[in-house]
Amino acid sequence: MLGPVGRVSLRYRLPLSYAAVALVTMLVLGAILLAILSNYYAGAETAYLNAGGDRVVRELSRVDWRAVSEGESADGVLAAQQRVLAVALVTQLRVQVERPDGESLIDSGPPASIDPSVLMVVGGPGSSGETSPGPRDQSDDPSDGDGPPPGLPSPLGAGLFGGAGSGEVVRSHRTTERTLTQDGQTVAIAHLSEGPAYGATVIRTTVKGWLLAGCAAVLLAAGLGWWVSNRITRPLSEITTASDSMAGGDLAARADVHRSDELGRLADSFNSMAAGVQQNVLALQRFVADAAHELGTPLTALEADLELAHDRSASEEERRLMSRAMRQAERLEQLSANLLRLSRLDTGRLAGPSEPVDLVALTHHVADAVASRAEQAQIDLIIDVPEGEIWTQGHEDKLRAAVSNLADNALKFTPAGGSVTLGLATAQGDARLWVEDTGIGIPDEDREGLFGRFHRGRNVSAYPGSGLGLAIVKATAELHGGTVKAETVAHGSRFELTLPIRSQAAEK
């Protein structure tokens, strides 16, 4: 059986890759959109700054700068201050004007803190003296809604400014600088900065929306991927389940997929392959069973005739030959019986209900059955079985045959005067049933294929046997979810069957 598929499963990989594609698409689209937007707003902000700069320069150019520099009159500068502040207020720019020598003439301060009353001051030049540059905290009514002065471009259109009035206005980091020259001399330098960056708000809102849409898209893609992957993996896991069942011996397992696409065709071709395998395996098993059956009939006749001839023959020589022929016929007969048994075990997982089997009783039964033989062969039969019951789940006749097989082997390969032990114990949740003898042991070179079919040990040629006995034991152990192992011990061999214990609690 294969291990479970984890995160590498198609089931997860497909939705993940869908989501990854959606994410990448979203990021690329978003980046392009952002670039276009910020580029556009950068241009717009620059144009706005430039327009503000032009206006400031126009206001400043009305001042007689020569008079100012010669200290004759500061009135011009005061009037210019008012106008520049008005421009700053209306355009929401920070305007700073300084002389070429660095003396600051005007600073509107941050646009949000400009006192709107400067507009009224602009209206009445006489009161200009009360107004000073810079931020001033006045509780007067704000201006009665003068729009931006004519000639100033509306920043980016009213539509985009919808939400600009509420809350903090984001300030642009862009600046511009204008130099005013009069009579070929630089008289003032205007810095414009902190313009409203409505673009940033727009971009921020856009990014927010885009992130939301992106997440939705990724989730949607993942969901879609999940659905698609399910449609792909469900038939695949159907086929996997079916092939696992087949590997587990259920040759009748088929994938239940009804689709017209490639997966449907895969399932169909798997099913027809499974049918073919089932047919072949069954045919082969039937062939072995039939062959064993068919061999049985002539062997019966042959043995009976040999026996008859043996009993009737007068000469000792003839009887010796007959006996020899009979032994070979018997060997053939055992072989065919074992083949039949093995083929039944091979098909065993397809047929026959299993039931609880008490291994304690089973071991005693086997011991009873071989006790006479052991005594007749002058072998000490030792029974090392605990009191009580040890249950396993399985087929009692098959298990008994397997244990008998091991016991028979032990008796066969143990000389008179030796001993054979039938033992049973529990260890680590398993039942261990062993047969130990003081016989000829197992040569190292036979360890490998000991449980193989038609394997005969190097040192057993003098003993009768078909080479199928241990294969039958192994097939029986495996049929019951157990194992069998062989080892050489001090004076002989030890074969141990390990079988899962069926807990009484699981009985009902």
């Binding site: 049985g296 009939t297 019966t300 006749a301 009873d368 005594e375 007749q376 039969l381």
Partner: protein
């Protein structure tokens, strides 16, 4: 033996049928062979043989059906089924259908003959009892009057102790006896000084004489930790 003792063999395989005819024929029985179930049934009705040997696999159906039909027709002779399938189901079926015994192919001729003798004795011969002068163990005949054991027409030579041992067992078929009990009853030893090995040796020799295959004893059985018993045979 009486030529009137006719046995019907219903078996489709000629090789087996011929072999059976020869083998059983040497015991003095008259053999009639039918290759089909229908033929066998017709012959059984018209000739009323003493015993029927019935193969399970027949060309025109199952031997079980023939067996059941024979019983339905009121034929009461012993029926011995021959089967190649050793499955428990087949055996049970065979016996429930009215068969008296079964034998799994491939079988040994002497085993078949033993079964036939036992079936014949049960159906037509004397009944085994402790009082009777003649005891039966399977197809072994124990003649106490003449201190003789025979199987078929073959006489088995037993020592007086072996004979007493066998007779004691035959009087209590299926019962387990410890070695001490056997010493008491067969040897007549009372008390503690006896050697259990005496019993073991005699049992072994007895087996060598009366068992078909002494290395796998079927009549005198060892019961681990308890003693011995004689298999309770039909």
């Amino acid at each position: 033996m009486d030529a009137d003792l006719e046995i019907l063999i219903v078996e489709d395989d000629p090789a087996i049928a011929e072999s059976l005819t020869d083998g059983i024929g040497q015991e003095g029985y008259r053999i009639h062979w039918e290759a089909t179930g229908a033929g066998g049934l017709a012959y059984a009705r018209s000739h009323d043989p003493r015993l029927v040997i019935l193969d399970v696999r027949l060309p025109d159906g199952s031997g079980f059906d023939v067996c059941r039909e024979m019983r339905l027709l009121g034929l009461r002779q012993p029926i011995l089924m021959l089967t190649v399938q050793s499955e428990e189901l087949d055996k049970v079926l065979g016996l429930e259908m009215g068969a008296d015994d079964y034998l799994t192919k491939p079988y040994r001729l002497r085993e078949l003959l033993a079964r036939i003798r036992a079936l014949m004795r049960r159906a037509y011969g004397e009944l085994s009892s402790i009082e009777a002068d003649v005891l039966y163990v399977g197809d072994l005949v124990l003649d106490r009057g003449r201190a003789r054991v025979s199987r078929g027409d073959r006489t088995i030579n037993l020592t007086p102790t072996e004979f007493r041992l066998l007779v004691f067992f035959a009087q209590h078929p299926g019962q387990v006896f410890s070695r001490a009990q056997l010493m008491d009853n067969v040897w007549g030893y009372q008390g503690d000084y006896y050697d259990e090995k005496t019993v073991n040796v005699h049992i072994r020799r007895l087996r060598e004489k009366i068992e078909f295959d002494p290395s796998t004893p079927e009549l005198v059985q060892t019961v681990p930790g308890m003693g011995y018993r004689l298999a309770a045979l039909p």
